[in-house]
């Protein structure tokens, strides 16, 4: 970099000193600004003729796909049969679930719950399903369940073998890891677009998208579990002449089973996380209910469907978590603790049989709970009575945070200055490599023809993250200090983490109307639990010796926090900031749907109006922004150690 040449001639091997580096970066920034004053035609807007033309290429390709769908062998012999197969499979499961008497489904869940965890789990699971039925959503629940089952099954069938391969081969791991990383930062929308292109609109693209979305944890946790098997066990197996396959089957897989089961649990949760998004491309079920209700602003209906999703999520989470807790090395003590008894399952089966005889197949309508109406009333009341809070809040965020910041990034600062500024941040937190990478990323935003949308989105992301951090850190610190706060927070955070992101939007829109603010508030709600949790964890994990020593020297509580716990927890807190930024980025598209403008809006347009080119460009830009911000915050977090 040019910035270094100032110091190099004098002291060839010494690193340029800090003032020098700052001075040279400032000089570069000033230079960029000067350039933009001198050549306004070039720097006013990102030059349109530099555009890479990706959009046109993608659109051309998508036209080709549309016109060749029936004739091209790749569709006739690959995508169509695959599509038909998946569709038939989903239908089969769906019909089975819908064909069965509702009591049978609840009974089976209850027995599973009893076998895996005991009567509490059993009761909880059956009540959960019962609630879904009582909200009049039995059919939709079963549809969602069918889609989930198939998607999770495929995700596991693909993910677990990939995870094994990753664990056994470092080379394979090196190849797959960046792909998994990319899959996890990529908003689901981005690959929904090509998936729709290839599979059309219906259940199948929903399954495919869900599978793609849910695979990474299955791969990661399988691989991690196998790699973390005690080396001593593997060595002993080797010493007794086991083949590689024998080691895998008799030692590594059994010992990695808890981790693999945790992967199963994560996979299920991920899959449930995009139920609503999947509905946008034609999956029915609960997701569609939320999506439709959201479009019609029927808060009560959306609330019910959202609640059903949360209930299913909790039931599946607890069931699969109980499954992962079955530790093969602990079996006998469990058996000793609770002798296998068939009384409870028999009782449940008997009750089920009674219900089957007494009630018809459809879930009894007279048990309707009718939550929608009171919720609607509540929301109406809040809207009519709380506007004196919501309006000023919304105005404040828009007028004093969002607008000035967006104007600065998008309109006032010429694009070369932005590029240099971001590169400079990269340079200071890490070095010239990151600076170069960030600069190239920033250029890409322009080359893809999305400069101003990207800057709009960047401003929203930064403002949202700032709000989230400001709220999350104090709460996290508080939770680390007081077990009461922690206990109160826990269910709230649990709830926020399992609610599908769309469900946040409903009340937020009701209160704040459409625009950028509801998107921001939904994103804050989405990102804040992780921020609070990681902050709290970071502080709680500060070595007890250091805390004890500080106490022994008579530190006050405040001194303890400020002088010992916070400094020592800095790396963890920095990491939590990184996570919050990534989660806010994951919400960009959803924010775009409710008037967030920027890249999110472009992505939504791309998906809903089949403007594939725009959608893909916008998606890529989101990924690029995510990568830049991720690398920069990661490097910054690493410096805190």
């Amino acid at each position: 970099m040019a910035t270094r040449s100032f110091a190099l001639p004098i002291l060839p091997r010494a690193r340029s000193s800090r003032p020098w580096r700052i001075a040279s970066v400032l000089a570069l920034l000033a230079g960029a600004w000067l350039l933009s004053l001198l050549v306004p035609s070039l720097t006013d807007q990102f030059p349109a003729h530099w555009n890479l033309g990706l959009r046109e290429a993608v659109d051309g390709f998508s036209r080709w796909v549309t016109s060749n769908r029936i004739t091209s062998p790749i569709f006739v012999y690959f995508f169509d049969p695959l599509s038909t197969g998946i569709d038939a499979f989903v239908r089969l499961i769906e019909n089975a679930l819908l064909g069965a008497h509702w009591a049978v489904i609840i009974g089976i869940t209850a027995i599973a719950g009893w076998l895996l965890g005991g009567w509490r789990l059993s009761l909880g699971c059956s009540l959960g399903f019962f609630l879904c039925g009582a909200m009049g959503l039995w059919t939709q629940t079963m549809q969602t369940l069918a889609l989930m089952n198939v998607s999770v099954l495929f995700a596991l069938l693909i993910g677990i073998p990939l995870g094994i391969a990753c664990a056994l081969s470092n080379r394979f791991d090196r190849v797959l890891r960046p792909i998994l990383d990319a899959m996890q930062v990529m908003p689901a929308f981005v690959y929904l677009i090509p998936v729709v292109l290839f599979f059309g609109v219906a259940r199948v693209p929903a399954v495919v998208a869900t599978v793609i979305y849910a695979i990474p944890p299955a791969v990661r946790l399988t691989s991690l579990g196998i790699r973390e098997v005690q080396p001593a066990a593997v060595e002993a197996a080797r010493a007794f002449g086991s083949t590689r396959w024998q080691i895998l089957r008799k030692v590594q897989l059994p010992l990695a089973l808890p981790a693999i089961m945790a992967g199963v649990n994560q996979t299920i949760m991920m899959a449930l996380g995009i139920v609503v998004i999947a509905a946008m491309v034609g999956a029915g079920g609960l997701g569609r209910e939320v999506y439709l209700a959201l479009q019609r602003l029927q808060v009560g209906r959306a609330f019910e469907a959202g609640l059903a999703i949360v209930v299913i999520a909790i039931v599946l989470d607890r069931l699969s978590e109980a499954l992962s807790r079955i530790d093969l090395t602990q079996l006998p003590s469990r058996a000793a603790g609770r002798a296998p008894s068939w009384v409870a399952p028999l009782v449940i089966a008997g009750l089920t049989a009674l219900c089957v005889i007494a009630f018809q197949d459809a879930f009894p309508g007279e048990w309707q709970l009718g939550l929608a109406r009171p919720v609607d009333g509540l929301v109406r009341w809040t809207r009519d009575n709380l506007f004196f809070i919501t309006r000023p809040l919304s105005d404040f965020i828009t007028l004093y945070l969002l607008n000035p910041f967006r104007d600065l990034l998008r309109d006032i600062a010429p694009w070369p200055v932005m590029v240099v500024a971001v590169a400079a941040v990269g340079y200071f937190v890490s070095g010239w490599r990151l600076a170069l990478g960030s600069a190239i990323g920033m250029f890409m935003l322009g080359w893809l023809g999305m400069w101003s949308q990207s800057m709009d989105t960047l401003s929203q992301v930064l403002v949202t993250t700032a709000i989230t951090v400001v709220l999350a850190l104090p709460v996290g610190i508080l939770a680390s200090q007081s077990d009461v706060v922690r206990r109160v927070l826990r269910p709230i955070l649990d709830f926020l983490q399992t609610v599908p992101t769309f469900v946040f939007l409903v009340p937020v829109i009701m209160l704040f109307n459409v625009g950028r603010v509801p998107g921001i508030i939904a994103s804050v709600l989405y990102a804040i639990p992780v921020g609070i949790r990681l902050t709290e964890l970071g502080i709680r994990q500060v070595s007890p010796e250091a805390v004890e020593a500080a106490k022994a020297f008579g530190s006050t509580r405040a001194q303890l926090i400020v002088k010992v716990q916070l400094p020592l927890a800095k790396p963890a807190i920095a990491l939590s900031v990184n996570q919050m930024i990534m989660m806010v980025l994951a919400m960009v598209v959803i924010a775009g749907m409710v008037g967030g403008a920027g890249l999110g809006l472009e992505a939504v347009i791309g998906l809903t109006r089949s403007e594939t080119g725009i959608g893909i460009s916008a998606g890529l830009c989101i990924v690029i922004l995510a990568m830049i911000l991720d690398r920069i915050t990661q490097a910054w977090a690493a410096r805190q150690r």
Partner: protein, 342 residues
């Protein structure tokens, strides 16, 4: 039975280059090579059938690496390993697997048990991987479990057992495949002193009937003296001295060995034959005789009883005499060889 010649193990990016430089070229006298760890440096030894060969050295001296090189759990950088005349380093995967399955078994410091298997299935593991059918292997495993005194614990899981019992399982597992050679990598180091002594006695008891050829690694010199027929003292990847316990105690090669020998239980290690005077003239015709391999502690009661010297018999014929003074000198002097001029 087991012959090792000039074994090297170097960890690092280019071990062959490092080996060439350290072993043959100008740097041959150098101890280290940049960016590499020389764990084993040109070690040679031979273990005879039925013999227990102990490798004693401090932590980090390369013992674990050496013993893992023998069956190529760690691939040696250079050297030759012959087991019953077969060159281990030339074996293909299949032959190597068969060696590990049938000929050589290992007992580990941290037990290396499989936590998800019951004791019985752990002991049967070696048989299972060679494809022995369930009934046969379970019978054999049950026998081994009884042999190490764990009858009744077959269907427990390892974590339900104490450390000493876990290592009994490790021992049973190694014996189950009826190997010709047993390798022990500090098998008792993780145990409490009392349990450790109990396990040492257990091993000696088993060895007195089984006579397995063994390589036994330890960092505990008293343990080496107790278990070993011959002992190699290892330091920085090399053998400093190899000999019987008595040879080490009587003639430590340098100060390093002397430091270990200093606190050796001389009364147990030294024998009548080693300290006797060959001058038979002072021999008392009183019929008080001892065999030459008797440890000094066996002589003490007899000498306490009566002042007259004892006649040492070697193969039934008188070979020398020991008197009180000689025994006392041998017990207190650090370097008997120096004192007696032998």
């Amino acid at each position: 039975m087991l012959i090792c010649t000039d074994i090297w193990k170097i960890f690092g990016p280019t071990p062959e280059k490092a080996h060439a430089a350290l072993a043959f070229q100008v740097a041959a006298d150098k101890l280290s090579y940049p960016d590499h760890v020389v764990a084993v440096r040109g070690v040679s030894f031979e273990v005879k059938k039925g013999e227990t060969f102990v490798v004693m050295g401090l932590s980090g001296s390369g013992k674990s690496t050496l013993v893992r090189c023998l069956t190529r759990l760690t691939e040696p950088t250079a050297g030759q390993i012959l087991i019953e005349g077969q060159d281990v380093r030339r074996m293909n995967d299949e032959a190597l697997r068969n060696l590990r399955r049938h000929k050589v078994s290992m007992v580990f410091q941290n037990f290396g048990l499989l936590p998800h298997r019951r004791v019985l299935d752990n002991v049967a593991y070696g048989l299972e991987v060679c494809g022995v059918d369930r009934r046969t292997r379970n019978d054999r495993a049950a026998q081994m479990i009884e042999l190490v005194g764990l009858k009744g614990w077959e269907s427990k899981y390892p974590r339900q057992l104490s450390g000493g019992m876990q290592q009994r399982v490790g021992l049973a597992r190694a014996l189950a495949v009826n190997p010709d050679i047993l390798l022990f990598d500090e098998p008792f180091s993780a145990l409490d002193p009392l349990i450790r002594r109990e396990m040492q006695d257990e091993l000696l008891r088993l060895q007195s009937t089984l006579h397995k050829t063994s390589v036994f690694i330890t960092h505990d010199f008293p343990e080496a003296l107790k278990i070993g027929d011959r002992i190699a003292i290892m330091k920085d990847g090399q053998f400093v001295q190899v000999g019987t316990p008595q040879e080490l105690v009587l003639r430590p090669r340098d100060d390093y060995v002397r430091a270990f020998v200093k606190d050796a239980p001389r009364a147990k290690v030294l024998t009548a034959g080693a300290i006797m005077s060959r001058d038979l003239r002072g021999r008392a015709p009183n019929g008080r005789t001892v065999p030459s391999h008797a440890p000094l502690q066996a002589l003490l009661p007899m000498l306490a009883e009566h002042d007259a010297p004892l006649t040492v018999l070697d193969g039934g014929t008188p070979a020398g005499v020991v008197d009180r003074a000689a025994v006392i000198r041998a017990l207190v002097e650090e370097d008997v060889a120096r004192a007696t001029g032998a």
